[in-house]
Symmetry: C2
Subunit: 345 residues, 2 copies
């Protein structure tokens, strides 16, 4: 079968690999019908050492169950399913607490040797806990939106939920990538009154306005912080959703958060040490929260508004390709000529 | 009048200074009847440059209102009052939100030139918002406990409240100083089921057990982390209350916090940059919160259980002196021969 391999920074190839098959009785084999390239894939695309490759890529997918292991009870061959970006048993204490990304038996797809979502098929471990059946056909017009619950919508929603966004909140979203834009949509859905989107790509910030942003700040650094403070009477916003993962984005976050407010990070931090002392967090009783989104936990909640059309998160896809076009998709996303690339294997 | 001045690290003197007087119509002049030395005073006692001195010391006190400015409406001469460790107007948006330490007009006592609580008298700005009347006499046996709502009980309670301690929580408290011990008492009061106190001074950890600690871990660093994990099935606790302020205490905190849990810091951070990346906070969806406690916000709530004897936070005082004994009090607390020194000017 065909699969996407990254050999190092900037070097993505689609190659023939051995076919995925079931190896554990709790596995399912899924024939992938829709997948995509993630903003987080751009981190290794920018920096991966050839010593760490080749790596199977892709962690967001929709597909058809082609085979199931003997112990799988909730799925049947032919089911259309979406997978979250981490697999999980659905039964451990952390899964029951809605923290499937910390499942005692689970893991992230990049920890599963020889499997990836940017491929024709994939072996899904812990299939009962991981996969979520979709009540539509594989060629439904809703597929792009439904694919976002795999990662980017779940992640934006997690940012907003963990950040405590509620009716009347003021919110800054740092980053105009797909996760940032869907953090805007999520904040709007949870009742935020003012949503300031910090981003500099007008096509993206226009979509952000469509999703609910009330203001756009294109400046960065101190100038960007000053602009957000100008928009908030000098005080900053109750909540800041950080959807980038680089240190300057975190610095912007504590620059614009209000006293007593919350910074919720969902951009995977590309740094370890960062300011958390008196001047940044402590003095103003600022809370820092967030982490890898347990997308699986939000699927039941996010499915209905997609089915009834009240949200259209699939608008973040601005390009579509087949598997052979995946390397070009990485390049376009890295060059910022594409926001997010949908892949139909 | 006599007041306590710090001239540099290890150099505390009690000297005659000009008498405090009212300078603003919103001031009150308070004759101090009980004050104390704070664990946070030990930070400058260990490191203050003589270039930054002399500094008037002390930010916890009870006293009798001796004079009030023309605009003070809620206090009368002769009232016994306790002050929180920050003054605040009580009316701004942050005060109304219970964040008096971020009051738009307020400040910390060390920002008020020529005034300090380890003295015979003090000028209190924004007296209506700052001072809290006490329904007892100045020589009541409850004075030590009532003095703790000025800072150390309010701070321990803030740690527990911000940390989200509730019925059934598992909690680790890092630090066996007065704040750590009162964080134990606060966690117990909020319903924590397991309270692990990390500290190595047996007299203190014994008091911690009296306040509600279910376990004591005297080891530090990796060994201490392993001991807490052993006590919690390997998972750590839901909440960690960090009551020290040094980097190793923070490192211990993220070592023992459970996935999805919360670290609440009230020890004033003596560091700026620290680990907040994937391995420390992000990967496990750990929340970091806390800051300077708005003690004033908790006084109404903490007064009744002290008056009815259901809590006795004043037990943290293990020595009493007059003003002339203050320099010795600093020394004893720095040497860990005293836990906390009560001062009766």
């Amino acid at each position: 079968m065909k699969a996407t391999l990254m050999y190092g920074a900037g070097d993505v190839r689609v190659e023939q690999v051995r076919d995925s098959t079931i190896t554990e009785p709790t596995d399912a084999l899924v024939r992938i019908t829709a997948t995509c390239v993630c903003g987080s894939d751009l981190h290794p695309y920018g920096s991966m050492s050839p010593d760490d490759g080749p790596a199977h890529m892709g962690h967001e997918f929709i597909g058809i169950v082609e085979d199931i292991g003997a112990e799988v009870t909730t799925l049947r061959t032919g089911d259309l399913v979406v997978a979250p970006f981490a697999f999980s048993d659905g039964t451990c204490q952390f899964c029951r607490a809605g923290l499937q990304t910390s499942c005692e038996q689970g893991g992230f797809w990049d920890g599963l040797p020889g499997e990836g979502g940017q491929a024709e098929a994939i072996r899904v471990p812990l299939a009962d806990g991981t996969l979520f059946p979709l009540p539509v056909a594989a060629d439904s017009a809703l597929i792009p939106s439904l694919l976002t619950i795999s990662d980017v919508l779940g992640t934006g929603y997690h940012a907003a939920v963990r950040g405590g966004v509620r009716q009347g909140s003021t919110v800054t979203v740092v980053g105009d990538g797909a996760v940032g834009l869907l953090a805007v949509l999520s904040a709007k859905r949870l009742g935020a009154e003012q949503i300031i989107l910090m981003g500099r790509h007008q096509a993206r910030t226009d979509l952000g306005r469509e999703f609910g942003a009330t203001d756009v700040v294109s400046a960065r650094g101190d100038e960007g912080v000053a602009a957000v403070r100008d928009l908030t009477g000098g005080f900053g916003t109750n909540v800041v959703l950080e959807a980038v993962g680089h240190l300057p984005a975190y610095e912007q976050a504590f620059g614009v958060v209000r006293v007593g407010g919350t910074i919720s990070r969902v951009g995977v931090p590309q740094y370890d040490d960062a300011p958390i002392g008196f001047a940044s967090l402590f003095g103003g009783n600022v809370t820092l929260t967030g982490g890898p989104a347990p997308s699986r936990a939000y699927m039941e909640e996010l499915l209905p508004p997609i089915l009834d059309g009240s949200i259209e998160p699939g608008k973040v896809f601005d390009a579509t390709t087949d598997l052979d076009g995946v390397p070009g998709g990485y390049r376009d996303m890295a060059d910022r000529t594409s926001l997010k690339v949908l892949v139909t294997p």
